[in-house]
């Protein structure tokens, strides 16, 4: 082996500084034996987002040329050591940059090592870690996940314990003495941290993992569309509502056939057409939620008074002129709590708004062909009526 490639899989914000210290530590430790190295984060990741899985990499090599050879790609396609600093990531990683679930050991080379901080036993972790078609080693440092913040750092010595463990895993690149020397020279180093690294070197637990071991689930696979297969205009159709959840509370959305990103990425908002006011200003699904629709009404149409009318169910014709609004404002008593007017929006949608004639062109846009199942002939009349009566 003339180069050592490591990845650090971590959670954005909470472990950003931890991961950065680890990859820097790897390079600086290797430098003690006249090797060259580079430490970097995956550009496509968004580690400033709360808890999002992200990656840092460290590559060290005997010569500059070997290092460049390994750097001449967007990011490593294989790694000798996968360092996972949160054992919940053993279920797989779906980072900002990655499309689909990536098993934690996906990039680990045959006979490589997955190094993890965890208090769980090996067998428990292997229930989550996906099977791999080559044997590898699972090494554990007994520790909880070290979480801190973007501007603060939790000095629990996790970074030096990882470095100490790496000296055991890859001694030809990182000797324990080199690691200790590097730690001492770092701005955050100390003798106590060196002692922690040495203890980790002694206490690391390692177990060989056979190809038969691990989670047998096959991660979702898909083929990226060609440019002529993609929809134009940078648009993605919403996913169909899908089927109701058992018990009737909410829906299980169907998968988007054009934009597959496995789990959470496909959980796109579903418009509740029964409560959507069809304001035509946006297709933001929250407008389909009654409470937000009311907030929207307050902003757009007459402020508080309008809301009072909604709650009080006054005829719209009384609100045609500002003078009438003032008079009305004097007459009305302050409204009660939100619960009193819960059905106000629905009622308003059923009434004729004469001011509609004065509203502009956008509010009377034609309806497109319905794409939702169940939005065919039967419901079309009602939608049209809602749209016409509601000024938007």
């Amino acid at each position: 082996m003339s180069a050592l490639i490591c990845e650090v899989v971590y959670r954005g914000i909470f472990q950003k500084n931890l991961a950065a210290r680890i990859v820097r530590g790897i390079v600086l430790s290797a430098r003690k034996s006249e090797r060259w190295g580079i430490a970097f984060g995956r550009y496509g990741d968004s580690p400033q987002r709360n808890g999002i899985p992200a990656k840092d990499f460290a590559i060290v090599a005997d010569t500059k040329e070997e290092l460049e050879q390994n750097m001449a790609r967007y990011e490593p396609k294989h790694v000798d050591v996968t360092i996972c600093v949160d054992d919940t990531l053993s279920k797989g990683v779906e980072s900002w940059a990655w499309y689909g679930l990536q098993p934690i050991n996906r990039l680990t080379v045959p006979d490589g090592t997955v190094l993890m901080t965890s208090l769980q036993p090996f067998d428990a972790l292997l229930k989550d870690i996906h099977k791999k078609d080559a044997p590898y080693k699972l090494s554990l440092i007994r520790a909880k996940a070290s979480f801190s913040g973007l501007w603060v750092y939790k000095e629990d010595h996790t970074e030096v314990r990882i470095l100490g463990a790496l000296a055991k895993i890859a001694p030809s690149f990182l000797t324990l003495d080199a690691v200790a020397e590097a730690i001492k020279e770092m701005e955050w180093g100390s003798e106590l941290k060196v002692a922690s690294a040495r203890k980790a070197f002694d206490r690391i637990e390692t177990r060989a993992v056979k190809i038969t071991e691990g989670n047998s689930d096959v991660p979702f696979a898909f083929e990226m569309p060609k440019w002529w297969e993609m929809r134009e205009g940078v648009t993605i159709p919403a996913i169909p509502i899908g089927k109701p959840k058992e018990g009737g509370q909410g829906y299980v959305p169907e998968r988007n056939p054009y934009f597959k990103k496995f789990s959470t990425r496909t959980m796109r908002p579903v418009i509740d057409f029964d409560t959507c006011v069809k304001c035509n200003l946006d297709c933001v699904p929250r407008l389909g939620l009654r409470r937000d629709a009311r907030r929207h009404l307050r902003r757009q149409h007459g402020g508080v008074l309008r809301l009072r009318r909604v709650r009080g169910r006054l005829p719209r014709r009384e609100l045609h002129h500002d003078g009438q609004r003032v008079r009305l404002r004097r007459q009305r008593q302050p409204v009660g709590d939100v619960a009193q007017g819960q059905n106000g929006v629905q009622d308003m949608a059923r009434r004729q708004d004469r001011r509609q004639e004065n509203h502009g062109a956008v509010s009377r846009l034609p309806f497109p062909r319905p794409v939702r199942r169940g939005a065919e002939a039967g419901s079309r009349v009602r939608r049209h009526r809602d749209h016409r009566w509601y000024p938007g």
Partner: protein, 408 residues
């Protein structure tokens, strides 16, 4: 399209004395636009005022939104277009620059926005004379760009613009460039066609499956990284290529419906058939050139003009064919591109690139002239032609770019 504006039935063209900006406003009324946004900057503001008047007089029913700046101005129409409204917008010079963020995102979102760029010099120094650099800034971004020369062409091109931009095969924004003052503020006799003819020519804007509407739930402009972006750019590239055929189709239909319009949509050829020297330019610069050509023809000099109408898509094949018969070419740019090859203007280098693979490559001379709205004089044109003849005689053009009308 949201609202149909009722107009009196008329079957014949009516003759009006109107400016280029007013001609655009006439065209917008005929096209029955739905949403227009405005923010004043000279010389574009003349069209904004003309539309406001149309709406105030009840000749056009449309949403007229005065934004708090050009950035919002273009954002508003962008979103209005995505919900199916036919939109119009415009600006000039640094106002156009202020909207740059919106201008960049409009082509990939396939928003067929039509707007007028009243060409104006970019500040500093603060100036409002014509230069083409403002509109040219978007030349690589997926905007279709055309230049107009007369108020009649302003009216006709605006109708054609909607026909082209809103064609489902294209769906790209289109900027019509009009030389500030020379066209935006000059009144000329213009034939305004009846609405019924326009209705026959211009179909309703149908955004189809890209329509943003609660009944067609879609996400527009999600985050996309390196595994999607190049495909999106490739789509834009294809749309621009398809625009070539759509433009030719639109002009052919225009001639059929209105009984006028150029045979060649891409550029106007003025006495270029037998010309030994062909000058090339865009916009109202054609006027002094045409006058100078007539005088030179009277003296036996075979000089012609090619006035480019369309800059994006650039008609390189037809242009090469038209230019290859000349002994020398002189390109007069009303723009600059500092540090570019040969320190030439933008148009000159586009033509140089177009000629690179041509079998016949006449010597090409590059001129920069009329910046900041300075008058392009007959003397300037004569000087350019003399230099072109010298190049034709020697068979070689010097690599220098010549600035005309500059105090030296």
């Amino acid at each position: 399209m949201a609202t149909v504006t009722e107009t009196k039935a008329a079957s014949e063209d009516k003759e009006l004395l109107i400016s280029g900006s007013e001609a655009v406003a006439e065209s917008l009324t005929l096209a029955d636009i739905d949403v227009v946004t405005a923010y004043p900057i000279r010389p574009y503001d003349t069209v904004m005022q003309a539309i406001a008047k149309k709406i105030a007089n009840g000749q056009l029913i449309a949403e007229y939104i005065v934004a708090e700046g050009e950035h919002s101005q273009f954002e508003i129409v962008k979103h209005a277009s995505t919900v199916g409204a036919r939109v119009f917008c415009g600006s000039s010079g640094v106002g156009w620059m202020y909207a740059m963020e919106c201008l960049v995102v409009t082509p990939p979102l396939r928003v067929p926005m039509v707007c007028l760029v009243g060409n104006r010099a970019l500040d500093d120094p603060g100036a409002f004379g014509v230069e083409h650099n403002d509109a040219l800034v978007v030349r690589d971004l997926g905007w279709m760009l055309c230049w107009i020369d007369t108020s009649q062409e302003a009216l006709d091109t605006t109708l054609i613009a909607y026909r082209v931009a809103e064609d489902r095969r294209v769906f790209l924004p289109l900027a019509i460039s009009a030389d500030g003052a020379f066209l935006t503020h000059s009144q000329a006799i213009t034939m305004v066609p009846p609405k019924e003819k326009v209705d026959r020519y211009l179909p309703r804007y149908d955004r189809g499956d890209l329509l943003l509407h609660p009944d067609n739930p879609i996400t527009v402009a999600p985050q996309a990284n390196e595994d999607w972006v190049i495909e999106i750019r490739r789509q834009n590239d294809e749309a621009m290529k398809r625009a070539v055929g759509v433009i030719e189709e639109a002009y052919a239909d225009f001639r059929r419906v209105f009984g006028r319009g150029p045979e060649n949509p891409w550029f106007e050829e003025y006495m270029a058939d037998d010309a030994e020297v062909i000058l090339v330019g865009m916009g109202t610069i054609s006027l002094p050139i045409k006058v100078a050509i007539r005088e030179m023809r009277a003296k036996g000099k075979k000089v012609g003009l090619i006035r480019l109408r369309w800059f994006r898509p650039f008609p390189f094949e037809r242009l090469v064919k038209a230019l290859s018969g000349a002994r020398a070419i002189g390109v007069i740019d009303r723009d600059y591109s500092f540090g570019s090859p040969f320190h030439s203007g933008v148009v000159a280098n586009e033509i140089r690139a177009s000629l690179y693979n041509a079998d016949t490559r006449p010597p090409l001379l590059s001129f920069i002239c009329g910046l900041g709205g300075r008058e392009v004089t007959l003397e300037d044109v004569n000087k350019a032609v003399d230099m072109c003849y010298a190049a034709a005689k020697s068979g070689k053009a010097d690599a220098k770019t010549h600035w005309l009308g500059v105090r030296e």
